[in-house]
Amino acid sequence: MSVDERFSRDFREDREEPLGTRNEIVTGPVSDWASDFSHLEPEWAADPYPIQDDLRQRCPIAHTDRFGGGWLPVRYSDVADIAYDTDRFSSRAIIMSNFRPPRETAPIGASPPISSDPPFHHDARKLLLPAFTKSAVARQEPATRALCHALIDEFDGQDVVDAARDYAQHIPMRVIADMLGFPAADAPQFRQFVENTLEGVNLPPEERIARMSALDDYLLEQIHDHLDNPRDDLTTFLIDAELYGQKLEPAHVAGTMALLLIAGIDTTWSAIGASLWHLATEPADRERIVADPALLPVAMEEFLRAYAPVTMARLVKDDMHWHGVDMKADDWILLSFPAANRDPAQFERADEVVIDRAVNRHAAFGLGIHRCVGSHLARMELRVALEVWLARIPAFTLADPSAVTWSTGQIRGPRALPLRLS
């Protein structure tokens, strides 16, 4: 066995001093959503859609001084223009927080390819695409289906179950752990990594750095295990992968592993949970799909439109006047695909869930070069999760509407979802 010198020391030691810029953390009630928005406040987590609808009427690009300054477009056309314009908007940071990584981190960023800009982005992304095609992810379907059945078997006669905690979250965790070649028993740790990355945004910097470090420690441990025991999974694939005739930089390997782990979990967990929440609250839709399972793939796209879980972020590259507002270099853009998906200028009956919607060019998986690389995997997991649930549990309602909680931050979905099974 040859020794891979790249990982003989901690990849973090090779990183430049994390200069970047930090700003004062501002929390507390929002005074005006048009000039002081924050996606981390409870009002947004509970129900962001009326806020977005209101802003679309009167703004339509909201601003905030929080997070060191940022913008929130809520029209489909503005969101699309930004997603397509990689010259003016950088992906070097994609979680809107109180820290901006230094400009020199572009075009690679901390977790390629989601954090990368052209031209590097294209090459880093191309490496991953074959593993995530529809036919490649179909190989995970039998195990996913068996897992869904096993999770429901465990409900075993209970009248009330938490569909977010006891069902939705386990499905993407186990699937991505299997694809990366991580032990299934480590899944409970993944939830912690996800929360730290995506929901710990307003924590003090020392605490945030310490928590992110735990993820890096875990990934390094997995890399070493795979160096000792190479196997047919994404981790070994990334360790062996080459770009421009050379093996990947250690930080690239770990950054992409972090991306696949984090981005694969919270998002699909949210989509499964939000779909079950809808079906629990709209019995007519539930009964229609149970009676006609062929409708599920169409209905699923509508759930993805109406409850799109993922909001991304960008950083403005240079000062500019853009679509009527004065943006400054390094201003954040909170790129709300959920808001775009509910723009009446783009969708008929945008605020209604129409489960047989025939024209549905929704942007739940993004638009342009950063289209979610895991979209085919997410769709497979969501479809199988709903198929198995509806076949086994065709009738269910919210056990206690006031007990439902939604995640805070850029990924939105139910985190507590008690359902009464009947």
């Binding site: 191309k126 695409l129 025939a358 549905n360 060019r361 929704h362 998986f365 289209r371």
Partner: protein, 66 residues
């Protein structure tokens, strides 16, 4: 009538080959490709329009031939 995919616009969402596998397939990287010569057979017109109506990137085109 023929279908065409503008490969400059396609990002591999896969809505076309999900919805209408008779007319579209994916390549090794998940981008959409047209099967054969892309000619829409009688009875497939509605399916072809469905693929157009569900492409988020507006990459699927219908070419009407007189």
């Amino acid at each position: 009538m023929k279908v065409r995919i503008n490969s400059e616009l396609c990002q591999g969402h896969g809505r076309c080959y999900d919805l209408v596998p008779a007319l579209f397939a994916d390549d090794d990287e998940g981008y959409g490709v047209v099967r054969g010569d892309g000619v829409v057979q009688p009875g497939q017109e509605q399916d072809a329009r469905l693929a157009v109506a569900n492409c988020p990137e507006r990459a699927v085109e219908l070419i009407e031939e007189s």
